[in-house]
Amino acid sequence: MEIASANVICLQLVSSATQRCRLSGEPCRLSVVVKCSLPSDPLLSRISISDTGVGSCLEEFQGLKFSRQSIGDEKWDGMLSVRTTGKCDNEVYHYQLNLKESASARRLTRLPSNPKNGVKFSGTEVILSMFESADALVAEINCFFQKMLMLKIPNVAYELVVERGDAPGSQCEHVFLANESNPLSFSASNLECLKSSIEDYVLKHGYKKEHLKVGSGTAYCTEGHQNTGWMMDTVIAISEISEPISSCFRTSGAKSEVIYFKDFSPCSVSQSSMKALTSIDWRSFGLTLKSIANQGGYAFLEWEGLPPNTRIDIILHSYHKQAVMPSAKQKTQLDRNLIKRAVKLALDDLKEKHAGVLLSAHALKIRSYAPDLAKTIAGLILSSNDSGFQGECFSLIGLQCQGVGGEIVEDCIKKKIISVIEMNDRKSHERSEDVAPFLFEDECLQELDFQEDEYEEGVGFVFLAR
């Protein structure tokens, strides 16, 4: 992985630590400790990233490449100090990595190990120093952790500690813990975790749960042998808010930020994913994509005609089907279809679960005719002076025969019509063509010929050419 800035390498190291925790399967802690204004040099910050996950295999560091163009030598010397140990190891290994060194032989320096004295534990600590104030970094890690929390990886707790100077009073500590509000079982799937975190989010921001509609979908992509494929989890939430609230989701007005995770870490959206998002047939879900923008690696979807109090949140998470050791070798070009399929599954899921949500523009238009149609049919029934006929009609729509007001009949028919329209809209995604039954059955229908609006007005004789 090419490293564009020192901050990026920090986030990458945190991400690797997360993977190690996740792989350990046991409750783990991931701490980031930033020491600013060291007495030796006030501008020097020392960053320590430690986790209690499985030990590091060092390969993950080998993949990191330091790009001289991006980071001035003065900001970071390219040195990483790594201490790591596996559960079965008897000592804690200590390495020094110089990422500025391009010759791989000279990159790694093995330092003396520390004995573990029989204590069984595993973990890794990576330390680096930067000649820079760490404020920006702290903010980024903060946001990173917030996003990580959305994954609700059940066994990882996050901690960010910032120590300023030596004065004890100036020490400041941030602690992030997963599952704090809505504990999930350890066996919860990734998708369930994502969904749960969206719910947390809504609750946290004071919305009622009943105003939240969540749909999710997972698309697979098997490559080579079965276990090495990619998964794409998508969760889409539609919430109705009464007033705009600022949030980590940098959504304002009719814009949605797409939060994208790759292998359990926040990730910026690639160009190819942007295309995938653009090519989704949003219209068939009643959504009109006005524009799509990539701002600093984040995709923003701007909607047209969305009610002002409605917001849509989209989370995408792609990861290896088989949990693997963190590695810098990642497939950057994810299959576009995977995103499209996953998003569509999530949208379908939403539509299926929530009546009237995400109806296609077509269905919305047709649904707007429902009151008129219902009124007309009710009018036909009620204006009849044949009570037998009326009774038959009432029983068909499940109403009591006598003394029913016109509005009730109308309303009942309207509901039925609307439900058919909505159902058809959902179904129409599954079926290629929807064939409704005819009002009058006729065995001659084999000649069916769907010709549109053929009006031949007032022709005296048949054969008048047009």
């Binding site: 006929f389 009609c393 028919i413 039925k416 010709q451 005296g460 054969f463």
Partner: protein
């Protein structure tokens, strides 16, 4: 009413002819009620749906011509090709609602045992459902849709019809419990044919005529009536004043059925429109939708025809207009047009002129009667 509904259900399930019936209001009401019940039944079924409306397609591509083998009557009819009004398709959703709206209106009128004019219907719909109806044309089209859906005549839907038709000559008409009308005593304006098909259906007909003469034009009809041509040539004169309305065709058809031995002879202008009028009497027309072909009659072409040109003065020849050629073209493209008619039409187009029947007045106003008599005596009709 329940029984009627049952028979209507049966009608809808075993229909095999596409035509519009002239039905009493009760029958139409029953059909509409069946429509509502079917709609609700499908809507409330375990697999609920909104049923599409199957309408007989009124495009000329759906028209077929039949050549009668025994009856000598050919006709044009609509075959069983459907087009649908579906709520679910965006381009027919409004038309779908319109069909129901018009059905509701007609149902209301029928329940009141009244009739409406299309204009009244338009105003009612304009005020009730301005979102769906903005022009008379939309109303008229939707009425045709309802006709095609319920397969009944427009008149049966409770919509008033007027007829321009006139009849004169040796025909006695009697409505039940009414005085006999002697059409030979109706003066030169003849007897007006009622637009009320039910009334026409009940007429008692009597004649001692030997021919039925169909006249394209009112003025010619009036001339023949004034000259009492029907006394020299024992005949019944009938005109629709141009393209025939249903009522006129209906009466002619009734006459043809009642007196199958009388040849029906047409006197039309020598122009494509004249032939088209003749053909409408003879074969029907798609413009009248499902009501078209039922009243096809075996009309023969008396005149004017190509051989009559020699007695037409030069100055009465008027050049064919583009519209004439257009009509000629569509007539020629029709499979129903018999060979000798086709030849006549080709002569007409080649000649490049049209002649009105009135051109015969060149030989005096009484010449017309002589002309007809001569042609009939020589059996000079095709």
């Amino acid at each position: 009413m329940g029984d009627l509904r049952k028979s209507s259900m049966r009608f809808f399930s075993d229909q095999n002819l596409c035509y519009a019936d002239i039905l009493p209001p009760s029958e139409i009401r029953a059909r509409i009620e069946v429509a509502v019940l079917n709609f609700l039944r499908i809507l409330a079924s375990p697999t609920p749906a909104i049923s599409d409306l199957p309408l007989i397609n009124r495009r000329s591509s759906n028209s077929r011509a039949s050549k009668g083998l025994l009856t000598q009557v050919s006709c044009v009819f609509l075959s069983h090709s459907f087009c649908t009004r579906s709520l679910m398709r965006a381009n027919t959703a409004k038309a779908f609602i319109r069909v129901w709206k018009v059905m509701e209106m007609c149902f209301g009128v029928l329940v009141q045992e009244k009739r409406v004019t299309q204009r009244e219907l338009f105003y009612k719909l304009l005020c009730d459902s301005p979102d769906y109806f903005t022009s008379q044309l939309q109303v008229n089209r939707t009425i045709q849709d309802v006709v095609a859906l319920l397969q009944c005549s427009r008149y049966s839907l409770g919509i008033m019809a007027s007829s321009r038709g006139l009849v004169a000559g040796r025909l006695l008409l009697q409505e039940p419990n009414q005085e006999v009308v002697d059409c030979s005593e109706c003066g030169l304006s003849g007897h007006a044919i009622s637009g009320d098909l039910n009334r026409l259906e009940t007429l008692i007909l009597n004649t001692d005529a030997r021919y039925i003469i169909v006249v394209e034009k009112h003025a010619i009809f009036q001339r023949l009536a004034e000259d009492r041509v029907f006394n020299q040539i024992p005949s019944i004169l009938i005109t629709a004043k141009g393209y025939p309305d249903i009522a006129t065709r209906f009466l002619l058809h009734r006459l043809a059925r009642a007196f199958p031995d009388l040849p029906i002879l047409a006197l039309v202008d020598w122009n494509p429109a004249g032939l088209a009028i003749l053909c409408t009497f003879k074969f029907g027309s798609i413009g009248m939708g499902l009501e078209a072909y039922r009243y096809a009659c075996n009309v023969k072409w008396l005149g004017l025809r190509g051989d009559d040109l020699e007695m037409i003065p030069e100055q009465s020849l008027v050049p064919l207009k583009p519209r004439d050629l257009q009509i000629a073209k569509s007539l020629l493209s029709s499979e129903v047009l018999q060979e000798n008619y086709r030849r006549e039409l080709e002569i007409m187009v080649q000649h490049g002129h049209r002649v009105e029947i009135e051109a015969l007045y060149f030989h005096g106003y009484d010449y017309l009667g002589k002309y007809i008599a001569k042609k009939i005596v020589q059996a000079n009709y095709i």
